[in-house]
């Protein structure tokens, strides 16, 4: 038995004796059958929302993402966060 087979056997055994891992795998299997609905925000949408000013607490979010010193940027840049850094 080579290393690859040993690893595979080890992985199968650990799944077999670990009910939590079996349930995670069973969940993944059943969810593979369905097409996820586009209901969660994607990273690029989050950025777009922050920079468009339509989101919530935009200034705080932009400050967190682009922590520039206040004197180095003008107000518009602080709000939109689109200044090329």
């Amino acid at each position: 038995m080579n290393q690859k087979q040993l690893d595979s056997l080890s992985s199968s055994l650990s799944k077999a004796i670990n009910p939590a891992a079996r349930k995670i795998e069973a969940t993944a299997k059943i969810l593979e059958r369905v097409e996820p609905l586009p209901v969660v925000s994607k990273p690029n949408e989050e950025i777009a929302d922050r920079t468009s000013g339509r989101g919530d607490n935009v200034e705080a979010e932009a400050d967190r993402q682009f922590p520039l010193r206040a004197e180095a940027v003008d107000a518009a840049v602080e709000i939109t966060g689109t200044h090329p850094i």
Binding site: R22, V34, V40, S41
Partner: protein, 269 residues
């Protein structure tokens, strides 16, 4: 960190709030510090735990839409070791939550973070609609409990839509999330109920269906009408036996450390 159970099903009337109520009370009575979160604006879980829906100002929806609000000040303690984030109908808050654009499904996760260490278990009730509130409940779930009405021919309708939403949230935020199906309103004397149970097992696979069904029992509804869980209402109701067994089944799977303060779920009347 606490284990988070989220009750979800796109079909209404399958027992989400009833299961949430009874599980939350059972967990607390078993000695676990429990948080019940009512994300459903119908407020059935809140009312059953004794909240006055007409006077509620600090609701789950208000917490989620307010950037500055802290969860601690929104919680009430309807039972020993059981805290509740209540909810009631509030159209304005619901509209504002739906209108949120930035990571709106992660609002509850952010609010929960500071208080999580205060709890061993969290039980979340969600509305049937797959809207922002439900997404928030799913995004924090370790286990999504899907109650399936064991006596209804329509029980399996809508499951695909739920799974599509669960798949999206799991992919994006919770890769270790597990789903479990729970048969409710089950009557083992009815052939239809047995047939539906078999269909549920075939649909989810044996690994994901909870062994304990919740049988149809008038005691469960009577207890809720008196703002009680069935285990608080009657020691001999079949619902009491079912929820005690379900609690045990879930705790064995998800909570590793036995609590020294554990108490009997049912006290003699």
């Amino acid at each position: 960190m606490p284990h988070v159970y989220t009750l979800a099903n796109a079909k209404g009337g399958c027992g989400k709030s009833t299961v949430a109520l009874n599980l939350a009370v059972c967990f607390a009575r078993a000695g676990y510090r429990t948080l019940a979160v009512d994300l459903d604006q119908q407020g059935n879980l809140s009312a059953a735990l004794g909240a006055d829906l007409n006077k509620l100002k600090f609701t789950a929806h208000r917490l989620l839409i307010d950037d500055q609000a802290e969860m601690g000040s929104f919680l009430v303690e309807p039972r020993s070791r059981l805290k509740l984030l209540p909810n009631t109908i509030d159209v304005e808050a619901d509209d504002l939550l739906e209108a949120k654009k930035v990571n709106r499904e992660l609002l509850l996760r952010r609010k929960l973070r500071p208080v999580l260490r205060e709890f061993d278990l969290v039980v979340i009730d969600t509305p049937p609609a797959m809207r922002a509130a439900t997404l928030n409940g799913l995004a924090v779930a370790d286990t999504v409990l899907i109650p399936v009405d064991g006596s209804s021919y329509f029980a399996l309708l809508g499951l695909n839509q739920l799974l599509q939403v669960v798949a999206a949230v799991r992919d994006a935020h919770k890769p270790d999330m597990v789903i479990r199906a729970l048969t409710t309103m089950f009557n083992r004397r009815q052939n239809l109920d047995k047939q539906i149970r078999r269909q549920v097992e075939a649909f989810f696979g044996p690994e994901l269906v909870l062994e304990t069904p919740i049988h149809k029992n008038v005691g469960i509804a009577e207890a809720a009408a008196l703002h009680k869980a069935v285990v608080e209402y009657s020691a001999i109701a079949s619902g009491t036996f079912d929820f005690a067994k379900l609690t045990q089944e879930l705790l064995q799977e998800t909570v590793n450390e036995p609590k020294t303060t554990r108490q009997p779920l049912v006290q003699s009347e």
